[in-house]
Symmetry: C2
Subunit: 361 residues, 2 copies
C-alpha cells in the first residue's frame, strides 16, 4: 500500500496513527465486543469516551471554563443558521466581515433571520486581503460580529481574533482551528467543521460562551437550540458516534505531538516553504494574497499558463499527490497544509513544482 | 476477540462483513492511496461511490423515480424541524398521530412552526396500540400527516403506510426502514436516522416526493431547504463521507443477503421467537403491546419482579449480550432485533431467558 500525499481542502488527510488505531479496534473497541460505531451513546463506555475527548480538546485548544464545548452534526453551514437563530432577535442587526467565499455563505444562511450588515469587504480588491480594523462599520446594536478565521478557497487568514468591543465575535474556524494557539476567551462563539484539522467530516465542534447560550434568540425547534445541546452534553439526539471517536483519536495525536504551539511552528515552516517556492518562481507560479494574511492552511496558486494545469495535475497525481486541483471559483491549484500534512510532504510538492517548471518553463 | 450479541436500540449492531471490509480498506480505499474518510466529496472517486450507494439504496427499498433520495446529517430530530419548515406555511395545521415517545418528540420539534394537531393518540391507553384509522381527526387543511412507523421505546409498529387521502403522509422510519418491503410511492416523505437498520449514526436518509420539494415552506437558511439538498446531490455542504460509505457497505450487505423480502422473513421469525418466549413465560416476562402492532424491531419487556432486573442484566452481560437495559421511560428490558441481528442471536437470548427464569422463577 502507498499512502498518497493528500493536499485536499476537506475532507483531508488524517494522521496515520489515528487511522491505524481505528483500524485495529474497528470490530472490538476497548474489549466491549463491539465496534465503537455499534455502541449506545448513552452507555457507560461511550459516555466515558465523550468526557475524555472533551477534556482532551479543551486541553489542546486551551478552552476556558466560561465556554461550553459542543460536538454536533451538520457542518459549519448549519451553524451559520444557528448563530442568528440563537443569538439575535428576529430582524436584529448583525455584522459580517467579508473576506472570501465562506464569509458570503455565512451571510446568505443568516439573511432570513437577521438584518445582515456587511461591516467591510475585500471583495472589490478580489479577496486578496483583510479590510483594516479601523474601516469596519459595526452597527452599535449588532447582535454579534461574524468573521471567517480562514478562507479555505481564497487563502486568506485572519492573524487573530478581532476586537469588536462589547459585541460578541462569532468566528468560523473550520480550517484553522488547532493550527496555532488561539485565545478562545476572546470569542463569543467559534465553530468548525472537523474535516480539516480536527478529524473526519460529519463532526462539528462549537465553542461558545455560556452567557450567549442564555440569549432568547428566535422561535425554533429544540434541535436548533444550542443551550439544549449544551444541557444534554451534546446528546440531545443520537450523535455521530464514530466521527466523534475518530476526532478524539486525532486530538490525542495532536496532543502527543506537542499541541498547538508545536503545530504553529510546523505550519509556519510548511507555509514558508511553499510560498517561498511560489514567490521564487519568477512568476511561473503566482499567489496574490497580501503577505500578512496569507493562509498557512490553504495555499491557492495559479500557473502563469493555465494551459499547463492539466499536465501539472496529471504529473502530480502520478507522484501520488492528491487533491491539488483548485476550487472552481478561483481555478488553478490549491495545496492544503493541515496539521496532518508533514513537512516532508510539502517538501515533495515544492520539489515537484521546481522540476515541473524546469521542464515546462 | 469475542463479538458480543448487541441488542442496542441504536447505534446498534452492524453487519460483520461490512465492518471487516471497512477495516481492511481503512487506510487505502480503492487504490486511492487514502482513507475514504480523507477524500474530497467532490472528487471523482467519492462522487462515483455516492451514485452507487444511491442506486443500491433505491434498489433495496424499491424507491420510485417520483421520489428523491437524500443523504444528510443531523438525525431524525433535525428532519422533524425540516418537515414543517419545508412543507407548511407558517402556522398552517399539520396532523400528528401519537403512538409513543418519538411521536411526541416530532410534535415538540414542529410546534414553533405549525399548528400541531394531534389526530389521535394511544397515550391514554399507555401506548399499547395504534388508534384505529377511522378515529383519526385529520384537519382538511393539514399540510401533512406525520406518523412514526416504529416506536423504538414503546415497541409499537405501524403495519403499513397509512392512507390520509390527498394529504401527504410523512413517516419516521428510523427504526424499521429496510426491515420489510414498504410502499414508498405512498409516502410524501420518509426519513430515517441510519443508526438502526441502515448503518452508523451520523447519517440520515430522506425519501421525499419531488412535488413536495416545490412547496414554498417558511423563510429559512438554504441549509434547511430540502430542495437545495436534492439539487446538490446531497452535497450542499460537506457531507459525512465516512458514514455515507459505511451505510453503503451495509446496504450492499442487505442486497447480498436477499433484500427486504428476505429480511421480512427473518425478522418475522426472530420476533415470533422472542414474543413467544415472553408470552410463554407464564407472566415471568411481560410485553403489553397489542398483538397486531407489536414491533418486530424493538421488543420491550418487563420482569414480573423488577428486583431481578440487575441480576438479569449482569448475567446477560456475562454472556456477552449487550444493550438489553430498557429505556428509562419504560424501564425493564429491551431487545432490538435489527437486520444485522442473526436469528441465532435471538435464540441465544431466548435460551438465556428460559434459564434465568428456571433459576429465579
Amino acid at each position: 500500500m502507498t499512502r498518497g500525499l493528500n493536499f485536499s481542502a476537506g475532507p483531508s488527510t488524517l494522521p496515520e496513527p489515528a487511522l491505524r488505531q481505528a483500524q485495529a479496534e474497528l470490530l472490538d473497541w476497548r474489549g466491549t465486543g463491539a465496534s465503537v460505531a455499534e455502541l449506545s451513546h448513552r452507555g457507560a463506555p461511550f459516555m466515558a469516551l465523550a468526557a475524555e475527548i472533551e477534556a482532551d480538546l479543551r486541553r489542546l485548544l486551551d478552552v476556558p471554563e466560561s465556554h461550553a464545548v459542543l460536538f454536533m452534526q451538520g457542518g459549519a453551514t448549519l451553524q451559520q443558521v444557528l448563530v442568528p437563530l440563537n443569538f439575535a432577535a428576529p430582524g436584529q442587526a448583525a455584522g459580517y466581515l467579508v473576506t472570501g467565499h465562506w464569509s458570503k455563505v455565512a451571510m446568505k444562511q443568516a439573511r432570513p433571520y437577521v438584518d445582515v450588515r456587511e461591516i467591510a469587504s475585500s471583495e472589490p480588491g478580489g479577496f486578496h486581503g483583510v479590510p483594516p480594523r479601523e474601516t469596519w462599520q459595526v452597527p452599535a446594536d449588532a447582535a454579534y460580529v461574524h468573521v471567517t478565521g480562514n478562507e479555505t478557497i481564497h487563502g486568506v487568514e485572519l492573524p487573530d481574533v478581532p476586537d469588536a468591543g462589547d459585541i460578541p465575535v462569532v468566528m468560523d474556524v473550520s480550517s484553522n482551528i488547532a493550527s496555532r494557539p488561539m485565545d478562545f476567551s476572546r470569542v463569543g462563539m467559534a465553530y468548525a467543521g472537523a474535516q480539516k484539522n480536527l478529524g473526519p467530516s460529519g463532526a462539528t465542534v462549537v465553542i461558545v460562551h455560556r452567557d450567549l447560550l442564555e440569549r432568547a434568540g428566535q422561535p425554533r425547534g429544540d434541535i436548533l437550540v444550542l443551550k439544549s445541546h449544551a444541557a444534554q452534553g451534546s446528546m440531545l439526539n443520537t450523535p455521530a458516534t464514530f466521527n466523534w471517536y475518530l476526532l478524539g483519536l486525532c486530538v490525542r495525536w495532536m496532543l502527543d505531538e506537542g499541541g498547538t504551539p508545536e503545530f504553529a511552528r510546523r505550519n509556519a515552516r510548511k507555509a514558508a516553504l511553499l510560498y517561498g517556492a511560489i514567490d521564487g518562481s519568477g512568476g511561473f507560479y503566482r499567489n496574490d494574497v497580501d503577505a500578512g494574511v496569507r493562509s498557512r492552511m490553504n495555499v491557492p496558486f495559479v500557473l502563469h499558463d493555465p494551459g499547463l494545469d492539466a499536465a501539472f495535475l496529471a504529473e502530480s497525481e502520478a507522484l501520488h499527490m492528491i487533491g491539488l486541483k483548485g476550487h472552481k471559483a478561483v481555478g488553478g491549484m490549491r495545496a492544503s497544509l493541515y496539521n496532518a500534512m508533514p513537512e516532508s510532504g510539502v517538501q515533495a510538492l515544492v520539489d515537484f513544482m521546481r522540476d515541473f517548471q524546469a521542464r515546462h518553463g
